[in-house]
C-alpha cells in the first residue's frame, strides 16, 4: 500500500501542470471575454435596435446555454466547417464566449444606470460620442461592475473543469487520472478542491485590492 505522501511526491509535477493549465486557460478566457464583452456592452446600450439585435441574440443564446454544451459545441461543431480545433483552443473559445456574454450584459446594466445628465455634461463640453464613451461612461461603468467581474472570473475558473470532458489535461482531468491509478479518491479530490479554492480566493483578494485602489470617487 502506497502512502499519500509518496504518491503526492511522484505526481505533484503532473498536478501542478494541470493547475497551471487551468489558470492559463482561465486567464486567456477572461482576458478575451472581457475585451469582447467591453465592445458588446456599449453596442447593446447605445447601438440602436437594429445594430444591437445580433448581439442581443448572441448574449441571450449564450446565457441560456449550459457551459458544457458550449464547450462540446466549440469542440465538435467546427468539424462541420472543415476546421478541427484542438481541445484547448476549443475550450478557450467556449469559455471566452461565455465570459463575453456575461461581461457584455452586466456592462449594459451599468451603462444604463449612469444618469443621462452625465451624457449632457459630456456633450456640452464638446466630446464626440466615442470619446465620451471612453473617457466618461466606460470608466464609471467598469468601476461599477468590478465586484461582478470577480464573480465572472471565479465562474470561469470553475467552468474550466468542464474542459476535462473534451480531454483537456487541466486540474480535474489530471486529478481523475491520478485517482484512477491510485484509488486515493478522497485525498486527491479534496486536494483538487483545495487548489480550486485557492485560485478563487486569490481572485477574490485581487478584486478586493483593486476595488480599494479605485474606490476613491
Amino acid at each position: 500500500m502506497q502512502s499519500f505522501a509518496s504518491v503526492l511526491d511522484v505526481s505533484s509535477g503532473l498536478l501542478l501542470r494541470g493547475l497551471a493549465l487551468t489558470v492559463a486557460i482561465s486567464i486567456a478566457a477572461v482576458l478575451a471575454g472581457s475585451v469582447i464583452g467591453t465592445v458588446i456592452g456599449p453596442i447593446l446600450t447605445y447601438g440602436g435596435r437594429l445594430s444591437a439585435l445580433p448581439f442581443r441574440v448572441f448574449v441571450d443564446v449564450v446565457r441560456g446555454t449550459p457551459v458544457l454544451v458550449l464547450i462540446l459545441a466549440s469542440y465538435y461543431m467546427p468539424a462541420g466547417l472543415g476546421i478541427s480545433p484542438g481541445p484547448i483552443e476549443a475550450g478557450v473559445v467556449a469559455l471566452s464566449i461565455f465570459c463575453a456574454s456575461h461581461v457584455g450584459e452586466t456592462l449594459r446594466g451599468a451603462l444604463v444606470a449612469i444618469p443621462p445628465t452625465q451624457i449632457d455634461a459630456g456633450r456640452s463640453i464638446g466630446l464626440t460620442f466615442p470619446r465620451m464613451l471612453w473617457y466618461v461612461l466606460l470608466p464609471q461603468a467598469l468601476r461599477q461592475i468590478a465586484p461582478n467581474f470577480v464573480n465572472t472570473a471565479v465562474e470561469i475558473v470553475k467552468a474550466s473543469s468542464l474542459l476535462s470532458a473534451i480531454g483537456v489535461g487541466e486540474l480535474l482531468l489530471t486529478t481523475q487520472e491520478i485517482v484512477g491509478r491510485t484509488f486515493m479518491t478522497m485525498e486527491f479530490y479534496a486536494l483538487a478542491g483545495a487548489l480550486y479554492l485557492a485560485v478563487n480566493l486569490t481572485i477574490g483578494a485581487g478584486g478586493w485590492w483593486l476595488e480599494r485602489r479605485f474606490s476613491a470617487r
Binding site: 445628465t117 452625465q118 449632457d120 456633450r123 456640452s124 464638446g126 466630446l127 464626440t128 470608466p139
Partner: protein, 254 residues
C-alpha cells in the same frame, strides 16, 4: 454690432406639448441676460436647445452667424452629424442645476478633460489652464479632490471652471443655485458676478430675483414658451407692462 447669438422663430414641442413657441432673441457681446419665469415656461428648454442638447422643429439659432444644429439640404432641415454637433457645442458652455461633474475624475480632471479631449491641448498646458481656473473660482487647494468630497457649492464652482476653461463664446447657466443649500448660494453667485464684471457673455436662468436684477444687463420674462417681456432689469422689475409679469413678480417677492 453683430450679435453673438441670434435666435429666430425657435419652436419646440414634446409630443403634443409646445414648450417653445416662435422665440426670437439676440445676445450681444458682454450681455448678461437673466431669464426669469415660472416653472414650465420653457427657460431650461431654451438653454438646452442653444447648447444642442435638444432637437427643435422650427426656427434657427445662429452663433456668430453660423447656424447651429442643422443645415438646409434641398430646402429641408437636416440635423448635423455628431462630430459637427460636438464642434459647435464646444463653443458654448453650460452649467447645470445638478452640477453634473464626472464622479470618477478629480476637480482638476473635470476641468482638464475638455482641454485635452476636445481641444487636444498638451497635458501640461491643459493642466496649467485648469489650475488657473480652479484658482479663479477659489478652489486651487481642492483640485485633487473627487466631486464626492466637495460641497455642493464647491462642485458647482468646479462646473463653472470646467465650462469657462474651454473659452466659450457664450456661457449658459441653468438654475445653478437651485440645488444648493441656502448658505452655499452666495459663493456661487459671487463667482458669477465676478465673471459678469469681467465681460463674460452669459444667459442666466434663475429663480434668484434679486440676483437677476443686480447682475443682468437685460432681463427676459418667459411665459408659456414665449418671451412676454424683455428690457433693462430696472424696467422689467420696476414697471412691468403685462399683468402676467406683475403677477409673477408679486408671487416670487414673498
Amino acid at each position: 454690432m453683430q450679435p453673438i447669438l441670434a435666435i429666430k422663430g425657435l419652436t419646440k414641442s414634446f409630443g403634443p406639448n409646445v414648450i417653445l413657441r416662435d422665440v426670437d432673441f439676440e445676445v450681444f457681446p458682454a450681455d448678461v441676460v437673466a431669464i426669469i419665469g415660472s416653472s414650465g415656461s420653457g427657460k431650461t428648454t431654451l438653454l438646452r436647445c442653444i447648447d444642442l442638447l435638444e432637437e427643435f422643429e422650427a426656427g434657427e439659432i445662429r452663433l456668430d452667424g453660423e447656424q447651429l444644429g442643422y443645415r438646409s439640404s434641398g430646402g429641408r432641415r437636416v440635423r448635423l452629424p455628431g462630430r459637427q454637433l460636438a464642434m459647435q457645442r464646444a463653443k458654448i458652455a453650460m452649467v447645470f442645476q445638478s452640477y453634473n461633474l464626472f464622479p470618477h475624475l478629480t476637480a482638476l480632471g473635470n476641468v482638464m478633460i475638455g482641454l485635452t479631449r476636445v481641444q487636444h491641448k498638451p497635458k501640461a498646458e491643459a493642466r496649467a489652464i485648469a489650475e488657473a481656473w480652479l484658482e479663479r473660482v477659489g478652489l486651487a487647494e481642492r483640485r485633487d479632490h473627487h466631486p464626492s468630497a466637495l460641497s455642493g457649492g464647491q462642485q458647482q464652482r468646479v462646473a463653472i471652471a470646467r465650462a469657462l476653461a474651454m473659452e466659450p463664446r457664450l456661457l449658459l447657466l441653468d438654475e445653478v443655485t437651485s440645488a444648493l443649500d441656502p448658505e452655499l448660494v452666495q459663493e456661487v453667485l459671487l463667482t458669477i458676478r465676478r465673471l459678469a464684471e469681467a465681460g463674460t457673455t452669459m444667459l442666466i436662468v434663475t429663480h434668484e430675483m434679486r440676483f437677476a436684477r443686480q447682475v443682468s444687463t437685460r432681463t427676459v420674462f418667459m411665459d408659456q414658451g414665449g418671451i412676454l417681456e424683455e428690457g433693462p432689469p430696472e424696467v422689467i422689475f420696476g414697471s412691468p407692462k403685462t399683468a402676467r409679469l406683475a403677477e409673477f413678480l408679486a408671487n416670487v417677492s414673498h
